[in-house]
Symmetry: C2
Subunit: 257 residues, 2 copies
């Protein structure tokens, strides 16, 4: 068996500020070219949620938002040194949520997609404008598919696409990048039925491959730098059309809801 | 600024079955050589927990374990199609735990280290012998330090070491590799006080860098293959002696205990 090539994590530089309506696939191709990178067959393109939200105009001006009484109450309750909340921001978070999971001291919600995360992914960083915040894409799997299909057309290469965001975790400090949308790559790889190195069957071993890919890309996506797009090369995978929402643990199985 | 080299994920092949008392650093160097890899200054070596546990003789023969009544009861309670539990295994899990967090249908515990995970990391896969199970290393940070120091002596290169295990997550299906021990690399990178691309201060942005590195290495560590050691190259980091236990969220801050 030939030695597999090392997996590479290649940040795409030269990505300009993204505006609503921008053609992301064309911008990414131009940026890759400027970075002396070319897309290769089976590359995995990991895109930070923020540029998707910008291109899809999921930006909201807080001055246009009138908070409900519930938002005002929640903002007051979550008020502390670490995260003083603007009631208008809380209002947006509630609108993006189907359920509040914890409301103090951090607002943990279940988004309309089903993701459980802080603040429904509503975020103020890396955005131009004092009162502008970004919402998560409405359907990140559909966004990933659209970009993968456009790249196939433009490059004739099959490129898998993952849309990532940084999520916190219970029990562990710090954020890590996870997949909130994907196309072309299996979100989960089920090893049940396969055997370990000693021939014992592997039980209950489903690997969250798309999340590990997102985390790997995160290594090349420091928050403070303009690298919202990363190529992962030489990772072997089977093509898939399963959405990243498959990663969401079904409610009846979830011990921590 | 020169273009940074792409981050590479390099699995080390040719690692033999590890036995108690084995000199892991020497074995890793020999295996790397056979894989035509050499350790470079500032490489990050990610090691699957299993080989550490084997070398430190954290292997237990279940036939030597007499389960307590509590273990027998918990085994009966957690009995289902997905994970039929051996009361002796449950006994070991209880001995490795300071607290049971959930007992049905999966045993989620807080280990003596403070990690919250399924089955206290007690595991039967990738181990020779019908009734042999492995426990997590007693002090994975100390194990990582010992290996890093031995590698420094042997190679005169500063190599950071991460010990990884696959953990499940609330809310999201599938396992991902996380850091349970580290030396030489910061477990968390605190970006608070830095500014985003638009000059806004970044709030509450602590990245779990060691976990992202472990997840990235996981891409080159499929469970069924003998690749328990992976080098990550060209990832820029500041040297650190902070332990991976720093990633454990302090109890008063934890909303999901």
């Amino acid at each position: 068996m030939p030695k597999p090539l090392p997996i590479q994590i290649l940040p795409i530089g030269h990505i300009p500020e993204i505006r609503p309506g921008d053609n992301l696939p064309r911008i990414l191709l131009a940026a890759a070219k400027k970075s002396k990178l070319s897309f290769q067959q089976n590359d995995i393109l990991v895109l930070a949620q923020k540029i998707i939200s910008k291109s899809e105009n999921r930006m909201i001006d807080l001055t246009t938002i009138t908070p409900s009484q519930r938002a005002i109450d929640l903002a007051a309750a979550s008020d502390n040194d670490r995260s003083r909340k603007d009631p208008r921001l809380v209002e947006l978070i509630l609108r993006e949520s189907r359920r509040v999971v914890r409301d103090h001291p951090v607002l943990i919600v279940e988004t309309h997609h089903g993701f459980i995360c802080a603040n429904a992914g509503v975020d103020q960083s890396n955005i131009l404008g004092e009162n502008i915040v970004s919402l998560l894409p409405q359907n990140p799997d559909a966004s990933a598919k659209k970009i993968a299909q456009a790249l196939l057309k433009l490059t004739r290469k099959k490129i898998a696409v993952i849309i990532s965001d940084t999520f916190g975790r219970p029990w562990r400090l710090g954020l890590i990048n996870v997949a909130i949308g994907c196309y072309g790559i299996p979100p989960l790889v089920d090893l049940r039925g396969t055997r370990d190195t000693h021939g014992k069957p592997l039980h209950a071993t489903i690997i969250a491959t798309a999340d590990e890919l997102a985390a790997a890309a995160g290594l090349a996506m420091p928050k403070s730098a303009s690298t919202p797009a990363v190529l992962i090369r030489n990772f072997a995978y089977k093509s898939s059309t399963e959405p990243a929402t498959k990663i969401i643990r079904p409610a009846p199985d979830d011990l921590f809801r």
